[in-house]
């Protein structure tokens, strides 16, 4: 009883600090997230158009700027909190290995460190095994984890202030959180690009890969923000970002600097049309008032199954459309191919590839798609509920 009284006393004594204005580090992390996501997309387009890689390509510089901004900004705040005289900052900080600072700052700084570590590792990887011909490799995963650290660091930093903010500040922080959430989706979907190529959208593998983790971050951040249309906004940011780059990049002339060249390239090659995540996300937002009070397992089951079903129901016929002559225009970006795409490749011929070798394998992957979606939603619910409590 005495413990409860003490806690109550602390609350009523207004020991909790309200956020008066949005800290600069939150904005820095927003800028970092935008830079890194933009750089990543630009870099992939660069690899498909020009091919020649170096540390100093503009796309790499944008990524590096974002990483340095987040990492050094976070490190600065940690040093200030640890060694500075700001008592209020220390009272709102966590302790990691003797240092003090906001949890989000530690995560972002750690992400910057992981990105930094991945650079010499990736360089050696190229020397030992050759230049990348695939996105998923150990040094790239370390890089991706680092980027996720920076983006999630930014999101958790925003959440920690959001949970202490009221009024206009709270609304602003909600918007910032959902904006960063959109870029976290961009990063996740970038990692999955090899499996979401339109030639695979009539295979189960695409939906299986898309269901891994997507609902986790969508649900966690939606719950943390408390916004009525959180899922729609985040997937909307993702869709808008991909569409803008898809339409803008081809405006820049470019030619391959690597061979073999199999396509006549005159401008930057855009990346594919975004996945239609916004449709099931909108459905979940729409249904939120109905299912929010159900037991967690029912929420996970309903969310995972409905999300995957709607995604397949939308994406499958849309993929058929993307393969059709009607979609062969810059609006849908199905007329530009990487310089290394063979004229005989399925993408160039606008035909689907059956990833699964048998009907059994297809249905197994489809079942896994639903399973992963439900599991992701389940974890996302817990993750989101924890995020709502983060105050430091």
């Amino acid at each position: 009883m005495s413990t409860i009284s003490a806690t109550a006393h602390i609350d009523t004594a207004s020991v909790r600090s309200h956020v008066q204005r949005i800290p600069w580090l939150v904005w820095a992390n927003v800028i970092a997230s935008v830079c890194i996501a933009t750089g990543l997309y630009w870099d992939i387009s660069w690899h498909e158009t020009i091919g020649r890689d170096s540390f100093w390509t503009p796309a790499h510089l944008v990524i590096q700027f974002g990483a340095l901004l987040a990492a050094f900004g976070s490190a600065w705040v940690i040093m200030q909190t640890t060694f500075g005289g700001d008592t209020e900052a220390r009272r709102n900080s966590v302790s990691v290995l003797g240092f003090r600072g906001p949890l989000g700052a530690f995560i972002a700084a750690w992400g910057g460190g992981a990105m930094l570590t991945s650079a010499p590792f990736d360089n050696w990887w190229h020397e030992a095994y050759g230049l990348d011909v695939k996105i998923i490799s150990p040094p790239h995963i370390l890089l991706a984890v680092g980027i996720a650290g920076i983006m999630w660091g930014g999101a958790i930093l925003a959440v920690s202030y959001l949970n202490r903010a009221e009024g206009d500040e709270r609304k602003s922080l909600e918007r910032i959180l959902l904006f960063v959430g959109g870029f976290i989706i961009v990063q996740g979907m970038t990692l999955k690009l090899e499996y979401t190529n339109r030639v695979l959208l009539h295979s189960a593998i695409s939906y299986m890969v898309m269901s891994i983790g997507t609902l986790l971050l969508l649900e966690a951040l939606a719950r943390a923000s408390g916004h009525r249309w959180a899922r729609t906004i985040m997937t909307g940011v993702y869709s808008a970002f991909v569409l803008i780059l898809m339409w803008v990049l081809p405006l820049f002339p470019a030619q391959p600097k690597l061979g073999p060249v199999y396509q006549n390239i005159t401008h930057m090659v855009p990346l594919p049309f975004p996945m239609l995540l916004i449709v099931p996300a909108f459905f979940l937002d729409l249904m939120w008032p109905i299912f929010k009070d159900a037991p967690k397992w029912q929420q996970a089951l309903f969310g995972g199954v409905s999300f995957t079903t709607i995604l397949i129901a939308m994406e499958w016929p849309f993929a058929t459309f993307l393969m059709s002559p009607a979609a062969r225009n810059p609006l849908f970006a199905t007329v530009d191919f990487p310089y290394f795409a063979l004229p005989t490749s399925p993408t160039v011929r606008h035909v689907f590839v059956a990833w699964e070798r048998s009907r059994g394998e297809f249905w197994q992957n489809m079942a896994l798609a639903f399973l992963f979606a439900v599991a992701s939603m389940w974890i996302g619910i817990f993750w989101g509920n924890w995020l709502k409590k983060v105050r430091r």
Partner: protein
Amino acid sequence: MKKFFRFICVLLLPLASAAHVNSPDVYYDGYAGPYHLLVTLRPPSVVPGVAQIQIRSVSNDVNEINILPLRMIGVGAKMAPLPDAAKRSADDPQLFTGSLWIMVRGSWKVQIQAVGQKGAAQLDVPLPAVSSSSQPMQTGLAILLAALGLALAAGLIGIIVAALRDAARNAGEPLASAQAWKGRLGLVLATILVIAAVISGGRWWEQEASANARLNYKIPNMKPSLLAGGLLRLRLDNPNESEPTRFRSEQPDRIRLDDLIPDHGHLMHLFIVRVPDMKAFWHLHPDQIQPGDFAQNLPLMPEGQYRLYADIVHHTGFPETEVATANLPSTAGEPLTSDDAGSFDLEPAEKVAQLTDGYRMVWEREGRPIKAGQPYWFRFRIEDKDGKPAADLEPYMDMTGHAVFLSTDGNVFAHVHPAGSVSMAAVKLAEGGSPRAGMADMEHNAAAAEVSFPYGFPKPGEYRIFVQVKRAGKVETAEFVAKAE
């Protein structure tokens, strides 16, 4: 640990090369229109990787050189990436250097565009590209990455502990015992997470490394067998054949044994050298019985241990050398016919080798030591018994001469022509012609009693050079000793 050791062993395997044996660099003496160029191409040891290009203009009338990579055949041979400007040396204006990315394994050509006082012209030089080795991590880098990895692991554990222990507390709120316990639980969970990540990451890395090692080019080992009547049968090996993968937009050349094309009119050039004395040498041309199966009637040969090197060229212009070691009994042998030639009583010479009829072959070697990895013109002068330039030289398989550069341990082998270390069939393909066309138009120094071969020894060591020319209707073979530092 055992697996790790095996992995390190794989990394330490010697270099392989598709053309020749352990001699991957390409040396080419050719003409871009009016400009005489000596070209050195050093393919990357891993593909995709960077090839180093060095071009020396024999005359000083070349102002600018651009280079670009193209596939040897197919669509990739027609569409070019933007060329790179080769950098002109400040110290030596006739020397140009550059680098090119080679993105897939297989048969390539480097297009050299020369611009000079006589206008613009181009030269296409074949470049076979394979992954031949994987580089081990340098100790310094390994220590750096280990230190950064430890810091990241410690940081991650610290963050997870702080997230569970501190993050949900209000400002200034003291640590409750439940939160302290959550912190301890976080410590255990985070440690397990980090250990699991390190173990699974290590396994993944190991899988990637072994998958990469499987893609490394392996020197094919043919299987020789001696049948009655001195008939040698050679069954070719194809350790680098690979099935196409399920979903890739670009495949490396798939190596097959049923796609060979003739080089100098023969599907196979077989070199037989007795070891360790290397005083017996033959250059033969077995017939194909069926794909991957060749036969040759052996000439008169003494008993001994022999190293066999068989040069073949695939339809893509991709050359290979199949190797074998065989203990052969003495054979009565068939008389040498057609382009077959050789001798079993060669005397390796430092500078002057005796030929028949009192003729001599003189290696016009400079007094300076030969450096490994450097391109040289190996020049040989053929004199008659009076010391005058031989007047009765004839083309031997359309060339003024053929040479074999062989290390005394037998591990380095290169079959070189006056045009260089590339297959002449590949040169024809690179120029856009048919590999089956004659080689007469490739004649180098046809009228002179001198033959030269552009080449560079790949590593220091003792070598033998076997030079073959044809005079008065007969192929002469001379042997020289060489040392590279």
